[in-house]
Symmetry: C2
Subunit: 234 residues, 2 copies
DNA sequence: AAGCCCCTTATGTCTATATATATAGGCATT
DNA sequence: AATGCCTATATATATAGACATAAGGGGCTT
């Protein structure tokens, strides 16, 4: 077994612990030695061991409870982290040129489904935008957005003809809560045309609602061009 | 402004820093004071401030670089954490009864696309499974799975008629790396029938590849019943 | 102007130690 | 058997001080 040398960093300790879990030296559901004991074994300190175990717990390998001790979870890694970049970044980091176009801008009373979804009063005027994001000349994402002007000062005066609402909102309005969903939708005629797809094609779709201290701010439906994948590694 | 009292915990400090970012006291792209200075302001220690800032950086609010200092990110690249539970848990936690059925089990030479995708030698025999997961009487998920027997001892003797390969693999084979993708696919005749959908319907699909120390272990395609959403809150 | 070296500085990490807090499990009481 | 209290213990967090390491920037050289 990996003989614990002296001067192990918290990273080393993490690795050793992970190895032992993988090799079932510490089986699922079993209890690890206490931090104090591990610190002694690794000739390290409790602080360092603590950091290692804390991070492994955050990563979903361990479960820790005061007094109860540290336990190996039986089904590890139940969390996948997806970075959710701005479209702009996603495109430019891919080496393509980012291009944006405003398709439509209207102010209208919120439709009933939107009121229900975002919990806003019936008939409130909202800003509705449709826009396209291109990677080079290829369509990348079709964005349908609703913004509650009451929560966003000056949004009705903002100019969205040259840059997208996302860029603007990120600059001007912080948010405190976010709900993000992924789903598959069927391209209707309009979406299909914008994305260069066939009507009826499956479209990977993200739906994003943000709030600022309980106030609903904006809902965005993001339709990705055919072939899009959202990938995470861990 | 919130007058920094003494004895602030790293949580308190995180909150104060977050507030200042939201209130643009520390604007996007601007540099924060050094840990040493903040420690003094909060009458705390550098260690405590360090933990607060480190966690905020992990959460995507700050960017930290040695010598360069700590900077407010202009677009908080918030990371969405998705729980990826075992199907079984996802269904039972929803209050439904979990039911499983094996549809097909074969051993065959790996098709070319699989060899390419998983980086395994041409013509290697692999175990191929198709199974269904039901929530009560409703179809929930159709699973198409490929397992590399070379990496998984005894898998050819395992009985998958009563419980799914996922349950079995979790128990027997740890993994060190995982790639998880979400995408939208079009239901073919077979998938549609299993999921109670129409051929051509958009299907939310997850693709999952796992490795054990560089060795490819298994690839699973998970087709979810129509209407499925993967949701994260933060 | 471009390249190189060195110094300074901010973060990264470790050690050693102390206090706080939740709680499992035992013991006593109802 | 159920309830309530106590205590030992494992984790959670804070403090103080040290050394490690990356990297920005100035100044020198070519």
């Amino acid at each position: 077994m990996a003989a614990p040398r002296a001067n192990m960093s918290y990273r080393d300790i993490k690795q050793v612990v992970l190895d032992r879990i993988h090799n079932k030296i510490w089986a699922p559901d079993s209890l690890l030695p206490s931090e104090t004991d591990l610190a002694e074994e690794f000739s390290s300190t409790r602080t360092t061991v603590n950091r290692a175990l804390r991070e492994l717990a955050e990563e979903g390998y361990l479960e820790r409870k005061r007094k109860a001790g540290t336990r190996v979870l039986n089904s590890p890694v139940r969390k996948a982290q997806f970075a959710i970049p701005l479209v702009r970044d996603e495109i430019t980091e891919n080496g393509s040129e980012y291009r944006y176009a405003l398709v439509e801008r209207t102010v209208l009373p919120a439709p009933a489904w939107l009121c229900a979804r975002m919990d806003i009063p019936q008939g409130l005027d909202v800003l509705h935008l449709r826009c396209m994001h291109y990677a080079g000349s290829a369509p990348f994402q079709y964005e349908v957005r609703w913004i509650v002007p009451d929560s966003v000062p000056d949004v009705l005066e903002a100019d969205f003809s040259c840059s997208g609402p996302n860029d603007w909102l990120v600059q001007k309005v912080p948010f405190t809560n976010l709900e993000l969903s992924f789903l598959a939708t069927k391209a209707d005629q309009s979406v299909a045309e914008f994305l260069g797809a066939q009507a009826g094609d499956p479209i990977f779709t993200a739906e994003r609602i943000t709030w600022l201290r309980g106030q609903p701010v904006t809902l965005a439906k993001l339709f990705f061009a055919p072939g899009y994948r959202m990938t995470a590694n861990l």
